[in-house]
């Protein structure tokens, strides 16, 4: 327990330091920018002000629309969270069985089509996939709402989550990576001594190799894929007109709305680093043998 606490405090500290570092980097870039800008100015005082705004979650006002950033960012943040978490689960659901299957069959004739499918899915441009899906759905079914009912009360928002989650789940680049990682790791673990020994006892191979072969690689890759998912979310949100953080980031890029952009970057980094913290803690639970 004390070791767990130690790890937790250490990770928390490094997370805090990294967030400080990121904000410092952003502040530096902000000051390197040519031209004058409201809120710009070198010096520690300005930086401390920025830090205080960010860490108290009082983000101030947008320089373009003049609205309070909190009211813009948090609903968008929630929407993006739904999108990314849903698509992570979808990706796992698709790629893990393929990985297990190809580990068992060793990329033989049966698993070829699935592996090729995973490669195609991770190299197709996600926005093209989005348009393809919209085209197919609107042309042939007309059933699922393809755009988020933005600002209106019409339609069930749960149904409108389906398509974006589907597209991001299939189209983010991680499917083939997860398949490859799990196929390799599981194959390696399946031939280790302890798995063979447990097979000799009559235990199923998958059950005895699930910890080292599937869970640990899956956890470590999923949490390190969070930044890429947020990046993919920018595109998917643009395609589906999804009022999330990515679309907001793109709009503020077009509007040169820097305060909003910094807040978004801060929230994204917060997501990424807390994902990493979570990863370390979960891996600590799964990797007890480090003695």
């Amino acid at each position: 327990m004390t070791r767990f606490l130690k790890l937790f405090i250490k990770e928390l500290l490094s997370m805090f330091l990294l967030i400080i570092g990121v904000t410092a980097l952003l502040f530096l870039l902000f000051n390197l920018m040519p031209g004058s800008f409201p809120g710009k100015g070198l010096g520690g005082a300005e930086y401390l002000k920025l830090l205080r705004r960010l860490f108290t979650f009082q983000f101030g006002t947008s320089i373009v629309s003049g609205r309070d950033i909190n009211t813009i960012v948090f609903p968008a943040f929630r929407n993006t969270l739904i999108l990314t978490i849903g698509s992570i689960f979808l990706s796992i659901l698709i790629s893990v069985p393929i990985g297990i299957f190809s580990a068992y069959r060793g990329f033989e004739s049966y698993s070829w089509p699935f592996v090729i499918f995973s490669y195609i899915m991770s190299s197709i441009p996600v926005f093209y996939l989005g348009y393809l899906v919209i085209y197919a759905v609107s042309r042939y079914t007309g059933y699922l709402p393809i755009y988020y009912p933005y600002g209106s009360e019409r339609g069930n928002p749960l149904i409108s989550y389906v398509l974006p989650v589907l597209v991001l789940g299939f189209g983010n680049e991680s499917i083939s990576e997860i398949v490859r990682l799990i196929a390799n790791e599981l194959k390696r673990v399946m031939n280790t001594d302890y798995v063979v020994a447990s097979k000799a006892r009559g235990e199923s191979v998958l059950r005895s190799s699930i910890n080292e072969g599937i869970l640990i690689p899956l956890i470590s890759i999923i949490f390190s894929k969070i930044p890429f998912l947020i990046g993919g979310a920018v595109i998917v949100e643009h395609v589906f007109n999804w009022p999330g953080m990515g679309r907001l980031a793109f709009q503020s890029t077009l509007n040169r709305d820097l305060p909003v952009l910094i807040v978004i970057a801060f929230l994204a980094v917060l997501c990424v680093r807390s994902g990493m913290l979570l990863k370390e803690l979960i891996l600590y639970y799964f990797r007890p043998g480090e003695k």
Partner: protein, 297 residues
Amino acid sequence: MKRFYYEKERINIEGFHVPLSKRASVRDVVSVGFGLFVVFYLFVFFVISVTNTFIKDPMQVEISKMFLSPSFEHIFGTDFLGRDIFLRIVKGTEAFFIPGIISVTISTTFGLLFGIISAYYPRYFSKIIFYFLNIIDSIPRLIFILIIIVLFNPSIYLIMTFVGISSIPKVSSYIKSKVELLKKQQFIEACKELGLSQVNIIFKHIVWLSSKSVLIIQATLGMGESILIETSLSYLGIGVQEPIPSWGNMVSMGKDFFFQGKIWLSTIPALVILVTIMGLYLLGDGLNSIYSEKVSR
């Protein structure tokens, strides 16, 4: 007398027939072959577009030839201004080829450098370097690029430089773990005892003989990633601008005609992107499996 047996043995062994399915991994050969084919056509397209040896100008607008579907004359059809899509795809390689190479060069060289330094000085240097690398790593790449675009309004070259910078952490952590693994191995110890200089050991035995595969794989993956980034940015309208063709803006221009049933306008560039990136990924993957098999044998 002894020799007689060995002769006999040799004959017997050659008599052993081996089924073809077990002779070599067909999968690796197919992957690497496909990847090399992709690299080959990328290179040819790039050379053609740089030397400007087109049959017809890809920028030339011919309104009379709007929306022609694929035929012998225009193998990939024509777009909404009557421009030949195939020629535009050839021309479009220019948009990411050099920038992609820049980004790959940056990520591999600096990744290698930081990886080796942090593996050899694990106390302070490693911690400081990885602190900074983690900072870069924790900002989602696309959001980082958006910030850069707001701040500096850069060209595609500068954007790709930043893409390269943002993939340094991945490469250097790979290299670091690899070098740390190798450092403990006995052949490196043996090299030290044979009196080889540290620089010689690092560059010849660790980098060239052992980390080559990691670098090649990272380079192919990095090239694929930079193509994806370029297409995403062009799709968002902040990358390469019309009328200069790039694969990304061809897809995003074509999507407007998707609902009119003219799907080849964006499907064909999208398929080209798909095949190219898949080829690069498969190349990296095939090389990976070939190299790793050699190690395990």
